[in-house]
């Protein structure tokens, strides 16, 4: 590895933060996958595994935060490195929240699996696949400093929102037909909502990547009247 910094252990510490983010990303991605699989397969055991597995994400979350603060305090990073650490702290927060949402989904699944299935789950796995890919791509963009990829992730959010709307409409008709379906339908809606929130967090990571690369804060671009990418 080329030594850009005077201290190679500094470089090493930055690398460890990066690795931690990737690992956290891999974990939450797997958690989402398992949570949705537990819903589709009716596998309550797997859902419980997701709930207990979140401890790992929380541990990494604290570990990354500590590392970042230590870097800030001891190394006084400037320019790109400072931006990277600021990004890492925010991305870390997003990932931790995503982990919690995977747990939320798993908790709903535990309840849903005890109720009769009101519909085959087709759109939920599709939503989850898109959200997972968004997490993966946004972290990939972070590691590779790939602005194009980050911008592509920001556009993906649209699809997830559309799928959520579609599921909601479908569930409303189910509920109107038969009041006994209201309980499971509400739970499914919460699952969809959580996935939608996950994709928002993935989009947030992509925003931070754009900030890391360009120094521009694009988070509230839409509300502030700028063109979305």
């Amino acid at each position: 590895m080329e030594k850009k910094h005077t201290s190679s252990s500094y470089e090493q510490e930055l690398q460890e933060v990066k690795e931690g983010l990737l690992q956290s990303g891999a974990l939450v991605e797997e958690a989402i996958g398992k949570a949705v699989k537990s819903l589709v397969d009716g596998d309550t055991e797997l859902a419980h595994a997701v709930i207990s597995g979140d401890r790992r994400v929380d541990e990494i979350d604290i570990d990354i935060e500590e590392r970042c603060i230590r870097l800030l305090a001891l190394r006084q990073p400037a320019a790109t490195d400072l931006r990277f650490i600021a990004t890492a702290i925010k991305v870390n927060g997003h990932l931790e929240r995503i982990g919690d949402m995977a747990v939320n989904i798993a908790e709903r699944v535990v309840l849903l699996n005890d109720l009769p299935r009101i519909k085959p789950y087709v759109d939920i796995p599709r939503m989850a696949d898109i959200a997972r890919k968004m997490i993966r791509d946004s972290l990939d963009a972070l590691v590779r400093q790939d602005l194009d990829l980050a911008n592509r992730v920001r556009r993906e959010d649209e699809k997830v929102d559309q799928l959520e709307d579609q599921i909601t409409r479908e569930l409303i008709t189910f509920m109107m037909e038969d009041p006994r379906r209201i309980h499971p339908a509400l739970l499914i809606m919460q699952v969809a909502k959580n996935i939608e929130r996950i994709s928002d967090h993935a989009e947030g990571i992509a925003h931070m990547v754009v900030f890391l690369i360009t120094g521009r804060i694009v988070r509230h671009a839409r509300s502030m009247g700028e063109e979305a990418p």
Binding site: L22, Q23, G25, A26, E29, E30, R56, R136, D140
Partner: protein
Amino acid sequence: MNSRLFLKIFGCCFTVAALAVLVAAVFLSRQMSADVARRTRVDMKAQGQTLALLGRDTIATQISSIAKRTDLRITLIDLSGNVTADSDDDLAGLDNHLNRPEIQQARLRGLGESIRYSRSLKKDMLYVALPIEGAYLRLAKPLGEMDEEVRSLHRFVFRLSAIVLLFSLALAAYFSWSLVRPIRAAKRYLEQVRSGERPNPPSARATDEIGELVEHINGVVNELYGRMRAAQEERQKLEAVFSGMAEGIVVLDENHRIEIMNRRMEEMLLDRRPSEVQGRTLLEIFHSSALQDAFRRLQDRREPVTAEFTLERDPPLILEARMIPLAGTEAGGKRTVIVFQDLSHIKKLERMRIDFVANVTHEIRTPLTAIIGFVETLQSGAVANEETARKFLSTIQDNAQRLNRLVEDLLTLSRFELREGTLHLENLFLAEVLDKVLAVVGAKAGEKDIKVVKEIPEATPPILADRDRFAQILLNILDNAVKFTPNGGRVTVAASSEEPGFLTIRISDTGIGIPKGELPRLGERFYRVDKARSRELGGTGLGLSIVKHLMRAHQGRMDIDSVLGHGTTVSLRFPVAKETR
């Protein structure tokens, strides 16, 4: 000729030659001029003594003509030193000559000589004096004349030296070049070898040390080539193994970044280019925390670890990664080799086995439940009512028979799936076996008013098959055809020789057909297109699976083609009996 060695040797030789020539020339010219001076002096003495014979008076009177003839200056000096006669000068103005060195010498030793500058003639002169009859005879000669002779001698020596030097120049050049040439050739050869060419080795004609050196260089280069070839072959071998392996391989460098991967790994990663993957970490490429955890364990313990994880892609792969620390690299290099084995197939087989057990249990339980249920009902009093009892017993019989069929089918299937089933091959005529099978199926066809048509040409060759198994195959297919054909339909059995050495039997029906998407799954155990209907019709779900395996055991093949709603055609391809081929 930009060669320093050449210049050195050449310069050395030439300097030695030039020095030798110079020394010789200087020595020679010194010797020669000394010789000339000596000879002149001797000559002049002899002339003086000869002149002395003429007598003083004769000399005095004839002095001019003698001087002219001998080309000398002649002077007569009396004992007191006055010049009495001189061949060149007027006597007036000449001073006393008594204390001139040559006169002094002549007075003392009878002969004198000296070389002096003559003030009267303004030249360097050689003087020789000798006493005659109360006077001194002095002869003088300008040294210039002598110099002339010496100079011509010098010129000769100089020319000679020049010629010798030229010769030595040429010789030195030739000699040095003959030394330098093989060395230069060897140098060029080594340069070419280094730049990767394979030039012709220089010839080692010389038998001296240089020749030996060139020979040694050739030997070393040849050995080098041999080793390089061996290394290359070894490398190619390893590369072939590396790229041809069924497992994916990734090598991580000491910074835990991917250094190389093999072709299979690229395939597993859906043909991601190596350049895209190189220099990146495991997490970046595999996005697996299980893999990363295993890698951490490897870092802590430095011993092989294994991890199973799912590679997210379409379709996903279940991979087992085995990580091995790569020992023996310098600078504490902690490189790692990871071997990825695709477990998807094994997992699928595992899944199939579990499914099979579940299916068998289910298939057995259904008739068993019916049997137990009816027996219990009979026991609890229904046996008294004869009509009900008879109905129940026949249901029990049906279910027991179905159970029996199922067990039979499973046995057949497992025997042929393990390829343990033995066939008693004999020459069979389709028409003959078909008649026997139709005797069984015909009744059922008759009930449903289905017409069975035989389109078997007279010349149809016998096939090589096991009689019972062949009958079983035909029975299974025909039974299916009749079962899934509505009342009033038609079943056709046709035979044709489409491929040399094989007979194709086609059984077509006008039944309900099979959806296209289901065709590939038809040979699977317990696979039913329409589960409820099939079971209702008494099928075990194993019929086609058995046919498939029996056909394979016969070196034949079964193909199914179907149009939904129009009917199905099953083609059975059997090898034709040997004698008639």
